[in-house]
């Protein structure tokens, strides 16, 4: 497959170069050490949210740096979580004295690197809390696995915890809201065709023309099963069942539905997915209260989509609606 790139190993830096050029009003990019910081950071007295992880999931996380969301993002190499020194550099750059909250997706690499970074930051006198994001119900959370993965739900945690930080909540309070969002949401995705790793030119997995990966991870990791391609509505019904039964969501619950594209799926298909998902929620008595449709947590140019469902309460709705101004999400200002 062909890509609009120059050098497979310069992809991350060059994309960040474009981000910096297009959004100088929102953020600035440090290339060495590599991190993306909100313009005007540090903001004295406000909790700073820092997230990061492997690259290849854009706009996650750099596209969510800005007012009402992240103070900094730390992009690693493609599919490789960033190293502790980079996380530390970002932490130092945005700490405004009120402490820093790490939002970490549950992958062994992310956990280990952010753990080390937190140790180093605390050693440097910075208050750090960490919240683990693990919304993917595709894989059982048991002692036989590394635990549930964090996928597109990260966007919801970043938005809502970011709003709490923006309104001036203390570190513990922002962390507890982030944990509440994580505990109240579930996600799952489906892959139709894998993305291609730029450095090897190879697909992260291979499916037959009539197969899909049900519960695919956002690095192309396997999910629950390979199943035959079905009409979108049938696939959505499977996803909704897996997600809604897990929390479980109960009739009357107000929910936010995120339909997330994995990079190579056009918007029309995301709306076809949304249509059925909204119907399926209504059939379960869930009250669709907020919506988000787009490609926010991608896997290179993978074809497919994920659904995320978040149970809302008044405070979460208020924080969701609060102004946000980032490269990939903007409203209220």
């Amino acid at each position: 497959m062909k890509k609009l790139i120059n050098d497979a190993r310069a992809v991350v830096d060059e994309a960040l170069g474009g981000l910096a050029a297009a959004h100088a009003d929102i953020l600035s990019v440090s290339f060495d050490p590599r991190y993306v910081a909100r313009r005007g950071a540090p903001i004295v007295g406000k909790v700073a949210l820092v997230s990061g992880g492997g690259s290849g999931h854009e706009p996650l996380h750099a596209g969510f740096v800005g007012l009402g969301m992240l103070a900094a993002a730390v992009p690693g190499a493609i599919f490789t979580s960033p190293t502790p020194d980079l996380v530390l550099a970002a932490t130092r750059a945005v700490d405004g004295g009120a402490g820093v909250l790490y939002l970490v997706k549950n992958y062994t690499g992310d956990v280990l690197n952010f753990e080390t970074a937190a140790d180093l930051a605390v050693g440097a006198g910075i208050r750090v809390e960490s919240v683990l994001i693990n919304d993917d119900v595709a894989v059982e959370d048991s002692s036989f696995t590394a635990g549930r993965r964090g996928i597109a739900g990260a966007v919801l945690v970043e938005k809502i915890a970011g709003a709490a930080a923006e309104r001036g909540d203390f570190l513990e309070s922002v962390a507890s809201i982030a944990r509440r969002v994580n505990a109240s949401m579930r996600s799952m995705g489906v892959g139709l065709r894998a993305g291609v790793l730029p450095y090897s030119g190879e697909s992260t997995f291979t499916l037959a023309e009539d197969e899909i990966e049900f519960g695919v991870g956002m690095h192309g990791e396997p999910g629950r099963a390979r199943i035959p391609l079905e009409p979108a509505d049938a696939i959505v019904d499977r996803l909704v069942a897996a997600i809604a039964d897990d929390l479980p969501f109960a009739p009357g619950d107000r929910v936010l539905l995120l339909v997330n594209g994995l990079g190579g799926t056009p918007q029309s298909e995301l709306y076809i997915v949304f249509r059925r998902a909204a119907q399926a929620l209504a059939e379960r008595g869930l009250v669709l209260t907020r919506s988000l449709v787009g490609s926010f947590a991608t896997s290179l140019e993978m074809q497919g989509a994920s659904l995320t469902l978040l149970r809302l309460d008044d405070e979460l709705v208020e924080l969701w609606d609060a102004p946000v101004h980032t490269a990939a999400l903007r409203w209220g200002c």
């Binding site: 690499g109 280990l112 450095y199 991870g217 999910g223």
Partner: protein, 212 residues
Amino acid sequence: MSLDATWVVEWMRHSARVLAENRAELGTLDREIGDGDHGENMDRGFIAVLSELDAIPDDATPGEVLRRAAMTLISTIGGAAGPLYGTALLKASDAVGSETQLDGASIVALLRAARDGIVLRGKAEVGEKTMVDSWTPAVDAASSAEGAGESPAGILRAAAEAGSAGAEATEPLIARKGRASYLGERAIGHRDPGAQSTALILHAAADAARNA
């Protein structure tokens, strides 16, 4: 007979070469049951170690070389392998302290500390289809060889061979740690990429000791 800092430097150089040569293969193994980046990650890390070696003073101790390599790996590999290999070399450095000549017992202590560091960080047990499945048989073989009076070079060769066998033995396993744990039965038949890179690094250690 003993090994000195030159051996550690050579070990790192050999590792860098063999990981570069096997970058694509490690990538393929990781694509099959992970996310495909392990070859890139290890290669990037050890290229950085090569530059770091140039900056190391001639009179550095083995422990110092190991520590600087560890710090470099931690800040360049990333992912799961970065902290694990970084911790391994950091603990290995601690184990040899300020010794300048490493005898057989020190070599075994070094390897054991490395393995223990990985287990400390990653919490994996033998049989969970991770790099531990290469490290642990290697440490055991090294210990036996040392008990049998082998030279440091012989100890490292025994470790390397056991490490290779351990890597191969991950093939029939179901993974319970790391990214491959999501695969369930579908992991069967695939070698763990981290166990394979461990085997390569252990062979590099033995090769570096050959002419020492």
